[in-house]
Amino acid sequence: MARPRRASLLARLPIVHQLRQSVGLQRGMLVAGLVITGVFLLTAALAPLIAPYGFAQLRDENGLFGAQQPPSAGHLLGTTVGGYDVLSRVIWGTQTAFLVIVVAVILSIFIGVFLGLISGYIGGWIDRVLVVVADAVFAFPTLLLAIVAAIVISGGQSSLWGGVAAAAVSITVVFIPQYFRVIRAETVRVKSEAFVESARVIGARAPRIMFRHVLRNSTRTLPLIFTLNASEAILTLAALGFLGFGIQPTSAAEWGYDLNKAIADVTSGIWWTPVFPGLAIVLVVLGITLIGESLNDLADPRLRARRRLAATPADAVAESAPASRDAMGEVL
């Protein structure tokens, strides 16, 4: 007997699957998000090759760069008040942002998923205590918690890894409750399913049931939260840097720090120091959020409803695709 045909492995990968599923406007947003994020990742990977200068470089063979120099051939985006090259710092900043996202999101996924699984599966007083704690942390301004955590971890200033770790851990503190809530809710739902009971009947032990049976069926919303958190991680890192709790300029390039130093520049009409690092933040967050938003729409049946109601899939495509794709071209 032939097994039911499944789509190829490639087509079942998270993003690829959604890309095929999407149409029209949605696909436009998803593609735009993927392109921006791709550029961001490439820049981070190739920063040493692309950047004209080092992130902490103050002079070349012609002498000091000079402070607050307007954009010129030597410094395409000008120099900062501290005498750094703006373009180089914007490019190197992608590496810092990328590192923080990776460390923060991995840490919070591991801890949050683990706690959520335990809490949802075991239940009882552990569950109740963890839920109250998670809700308390969740309701609190994330930035304030991150500030407190950053002070503890780095005492305010730090090296590249110290700074990345501080930012990442402080963001993790804030994100754990989010993963915790989602995974817990899913675990509670899944653990009452028949297959979990059958596993218990044949004598599987709790850890095996939790990690093999429940966890694998509880992860459907993770990609969505992942994108939301990745963009929030960048914003929090930048905010920490802006308030002066980020990474020192000699250890790594960080956009929030550069923006902080640009506050005074704005008053004297110097635009190139704030605008470029700021735009970098906006673009990266925009790219990641566009992906997340599209995944969200594709996962939410309420937002998909209308397309299914159209007479045939072809009709729906014809109705929304070409016009909206043009529109996206105009917008982005």
């Binding site: 609190f140 905010a239 008053t267 959020t289 937002l303």
Partner: protein, 363 residues
């Protein structure tokens, strides 16, 4: 074709009264449970802040470490009680917090509660402006986006909403400042009011600290316009952050209600699209906004810290960054703990309002 129609059980007055009593009973219980939940929330946050802050050592060494000799430092620590066991200090601190004593700042020796009273009104004023902007921008645009969904206008609005969220408040603030204050020169660069206005408003009897109210009471149009001019950019900066969230939320919810059967029924009766959105789909879609505002308060407070720093708006957030850079961690701990209380209380109020509007959220 035969269909069986189930007759609903007759509703006796007695039964309906019982049902009503049950419903109101559950609301009372809901409020009670929500009220009790304030305590663990505040307790957990205060504990967390305490533990975090003490992991790095005692506040006196942190604040005055480089400036005093080792002997003097030890003496100051002893006076303040920071050389006792941590657990003793912890219980003392919890006791103080529950009696409303959040400590005294190290650097300028003021009770934290006074700092809050002096600067809290400024933050409150900023938050009110921001919420106004968020409502005015977010809700109509969200309805519009839902009404023209999947067309290019919708795409523009959605990208606008994402941009609102993707732009860090401080960057938005700097750009607005650059354009409208520095290049065009239309609006003041920073602060809550001009020096003269600030002085005379502060001298007024029974000044509320909310400058707009004080200015209106003074009856001097120059003051009113001065205060308003200073409020425009910070209000927009912080408001747009929330406006994007409102826009997305209203859009999603209106789309949800627009696909409800009763809307289809109305449409088949010939109700116009505009009226459908305006009168049928919009009201039920607003309920979730109320619940979301609860979470926005936390976001607004975080955003206020950044907005105030950008615009030198002398509020709590501005003070917080000031104390942070002075490494006065008693003040930081006190302000953060106090904000925890405020967040917990306002979430409580919002939850109650949501429960009053929508019976489904009650326990």
């Amino acid at each position: 074709m035969t269909t069986t129609v189930e007759t609903p059980p007759p509703v006796t007055p007695e039964a309906s009264r019982r049902a009503r009593r049950r419903a109101s009973g559950s609301l009372g219980r809901y409020i009670f449970v929500r009220f009790l939940l304030i305590f663990p929330t505040v307790f957990i946050l205060v504990t967390m802040v305490f533990v975090f802050m003490r992991l790095i050592g005692d506040p006196i060494t942190a604040a005055l470490g480089g400036r005093l000799g080792a002997d003097e430092l030890a003496e100051r620590r002893h006076e303040a009680g920071y050389d006792r066991p941590l657990i003793v200090q912890y219980f003392e601190y919890i006791g103080q917090v529950f009696t409303g004593n959040f400590g005294t700042t190290l650097t300028d020796n003021q009770p934290v509660v006074d700092v809050l009273l002096r600067y809290g009104t400024a933050t409150l004023e900023l938050a009110i402006y921001a919420l106004l902007v968020a409502f005015i921008v977010g809700i109509p645009l969200g309805m519009l986006a839902a009404a023209i969904r999947d067309r290019w206008g919708d795409a523009v609005l959605r990208v606008f909403a994402i941009l609102c969220y993707a732009t860090p408040v401080f960057f938005a603030g700097l750009v607005l400042k650059l354009i409208f204050s520095v290049w065009l020169g239309w609006l003041p660069v920073s602060g809550r009011a001009g020096v003269r206005t600030e002085l005379s408003l502060g001298r007024q009897d029974g000044a509320t600290g909310i400058y707009l109210i004080d200015a209106i009471r003074s009856g001097n149009p120059a003051y009113i316009s001065d205060v308003l001019q200073h409020a425009v950019l910070p209000g927009i900066t912080l408001g747009l952050l929330t406006a994007g969230i409102f826009l997305r939320l209203v859009r999603t919810n209106v789309i949800g209600t627009l696909s409800m059967p009763y809307v289809d029924a109305a449409r088949s009766r010939g109700v116009r699209e505009y009226r459908l959105v305006r009168r049928h789909a919009y009201k039920p879609a607003l309920i979730p906004i109320v619940t979301v505002i609860g979470l926005q308060i936390a976001l607004l407070l975080g955003g206020a810290v950044l907005t105030e720093t950008t615009f030198e708006w002398q509020g709590l957030g501005f003070q917080l960054t000031h104390y942070l850079s002075a490494r006065d961690f008693v003040a930081v701990q006190g302000i953060v703990a106090l904000l925890a209380v405020i967040v917990a209380l306002s979430n409580f109020v919002v939850d109650i309002i949501a429960a009053l509007i929508d019976p489904r959220v009650r326990y």
